[in-house]
């Protein structure tokens, strides 16, 4: 069961439309290392975790990723809302506009739709937790690329915050990976 809390985990208040930036940020909504892939990865993997710490961590980080999914959607919405047709054309977003107007849709900026093929749920706890650590690093790298492209402080601030969350999640998954190895070694003794 999930409840909705009517606020963002961290504020997004973008005043200046920028469809060029929107076309890059949307990748963290529906792209290969985006927040939707992260959430679905962890929430799918939690079912086969053998120790309580791993079940809780995947459940809770999978839930937090949904809050980040909402923040990224909010960023794209605010970057597109109020953008003129001229700005959208100049940003190379004409094809997006033809199919979606200024709507939010889980895809990359070039229109490649979201797919579950972006993540794995292998069934082996150590393989999956290792994938999760790599996923957090890839998301961190993506946020750093987005920061290179951004010039508006209202965009930079939430991007920096989201980048830091990837680092914390990487750390927590590393701790869980150690516990999974300990669990596996304990089982071998009997």
């Amino acid at each position: 069961m999930w409840l909705y809390e009517k606020k963002l985990e961290y504020p997004v208040r973008i005043k200046r439309p920028d469809p060029r930036m929107a076309s890059s940020v949307i990748s963290q909504y529906g792209g290969p290392d985006g927040e939707l892939a992260a959430s679905l990865r962890y929430l799918s993997q939690r079912y086969h975790m053998p120790i309580p710490e791993a079940k809780a961590m995947l459940n809770d980080i999978g839930t937090e990723e949904l809050a980040h999914f909402e923040m990224v959607g909010t960023m794209v919405h605010q970057l597109m809302e109020g953008a003129s047709i001229e700005q959208i054309k100049a940003a190379g977003m004409g094809s997006w506009y033809a199919d979606h107007d200024r709507a939010i849709w889980p895809a990359t900026g070039t229109g490649v739709p979201f797919t579950a093929a972006y993540f794995a749920s292998k069934g082996d706890p150590i393989a999956d937790m290792t994938e999760n650590m790599a996923a957090e690093q890839k998301a961190r790298a993506t946020y750093e690329n987005l920061l290179d492209l951004a010039d508006d402080p209202d965009v930079i601030d939430p991007l920096r915050w989201l980048r830091e969350r990837e680092i914390v999640h990487f750390q927590r998954f590393g701790e869980i990976l150690n516990k999974l190895h300990e669990h596996k070694d304990r089982k071998k003794c009997f």
């Binding site: 909705y4 009517k6 504020p11 309580p52 980080i61 701790e175």
Partner: protein, 84 residues
Amino acid sequence: MGNQKQMLLDRIRAYEFSAIELNLYLDSHPGDQRALNDFNVFVRQIAALKNEYERLYGPLINFGFGPSGHPWQWINDPWPWEYN
């Protein structure tokens, strides 16, 4: 949105973020008594602020986790993505 409402929401957000951080930390360090004490302090602060917010502005959380005045306040704008 009113300044008062925004300030209250920002305080809830700050305390809740601390609770999220401690929650994830406790998931991998369930025996850490000091972190647990901090977590429980934040739980009480969040509950008090949430009650104050809901008394003034209606439910913060849907599906029965916050009371509403009349008429049904849950549908009131702005939604979180509209704080522009």
